[in-house]
């Protein structure tokens, strides 16, 4: 069974990922490869709540990810994974679609049965 830290490190190895972090739904930081996770952890929680509200209001069924698109191209992505939230910072010069596909593939391969453990 891989820990959340292992999962974060595997995400971080994907081409195009500049850094990432994983938090619990209560905001607890479980793993990070970013220097300043506090900048992102609150945003992850706020994003999760509001995207859920939007989803229920429009009648959508599942949120794959939310993207904060920046002019410097270092976009920030939020992936809801069950009761966890994965935040990914993109490298400015990368194939975004390939990077997102690989992150999403990795997310699809893990289960989240225990907090802090991703198998």
């Amino acid at each position: 069974m891989a820990t959340a830290v292992d999962f974060v490190e595997r995400v971080n190895q994907i081409d195009g990922v500049a850094g990432c972090l994983l938090v619990n739904s209560d905001g607890t930081l479980l793993g990070k490869t970013l220097d300043n996770p506090e900048v992102y952890s609150t945003l992850l929680q706020v994003t999760s709540g509001l995207s859920g509200e939007i989803m229920s209001n429009v009648g959508f069924s599942y949120c794959r990810y939310i993207s904060f698109n920046r002019f410097n191209m270092q976009n920030f992505y939020v992936f809801p994974i069950d009761k966890f939230l994965l935040g990914v910072v993109q490298q400015a010069d990368c194939s975004v679609s390939a990077m997102l596909e690989r992150v999403y593939q990795l997310i699809g391969k893990v289960s989240t049965s225990e907090a802090g453990n991703i198998s």
Partner: protein, 218 residues
């Protein structure tokens, strides 16, 4: 303003678009009738909050994209408190939409879309927008100071979203009656509903009690 979003709707994959003001709600929309104006207004306000939260972390935020299984929501802030969003088919051309948003945003900033036009046949049930008096002009200076102190106290309870939640509560409070201190408990009740958690409601009351007493003393 309707021209702004009609230009987006011709892009392949764009189901519809809308402009939402935080204070005035839905201004224009060209979605199919299955998208109810009330819902679109709520969605727009949530997107504004999300945009604001993102702006706190990223000074150079351009757009938001929310990728759902069925659709993609793309949002761009036109000015503070005013947001344009489009709902698209997942196969939409994001580069084309982004380029169009950039062009239309430039035109908006030049004032080419400052008029408010809401064709009834396009957005049934959407109220026309009446010119509103800025909140600051409705509220006395002393009460403004009190509200500012209450807003700061709320930030200690709710964190970065406190500003938006407080402004929204004040907006609703003003719609229900005059901005008078005798109605301050009604405002606090609206804020408490947003806080939701009893222990945090109690903490907020403790924080604002001294400023309420000071205000009463004059």
């Amino acid at each position: 303003m309707i021209h702004l979003i009609d230009e987006l709707k011709v892009i392949p994959g764009v189901i519809g678009a809308s402009i939402v003001s935080f204070r005035e709600g839905l201004k224009v929309a060209n979605f199919p009738s299955i998208f109810k104006p009330e819902r679109l207004s709520v969605v727009g306000k949530h997107l504004l909050k999300l945009y604001s939260a993102g702006r706190m972390s990223f000074d150079d935020l351009s757009d938001l994209t929310l990728n759902f299984d069925e659709s993609v929501v793309v949002a761009r802030e036109l000015e503070k408190g005013m947001l344009l969003f489009a709902i698209c088919d997942p196969t939409f051309n994001q580069n084309l939409l982004t380029m169009s948003l950039n062009l239309l945003h430039e035109e908006y900033k030049l004032g080419n879309f400052s008029d408010v036009t809401i064709p009834a046949d396009v957005t049934p049930g959407v109220k026309s927008v009446e010119p509103s008096i800025p909140i600051e002009q409705k509220i006395s200076a002393s009460l403004q100071d009190l509200l500012l102190a209450m807003k700061e106290a709320l930030s200690k309870i709710l964190g970065p979203m406190a500003g938006f939640i407080f402004d929204e509560a004040v907006e609703e409070w003003l719609e229900l009656g005059p901005p008078d201190f005798v109605r301050i408990e009604a405002l606090i009740e609206l804020i408490n509903q947003e806080i939701a958690e009893t222990d945090k409601v109690d903490s907020y009351r403790q924080l604002i009690s001294p400023v309420l007493k000071d205000f009463q003393k004059g």
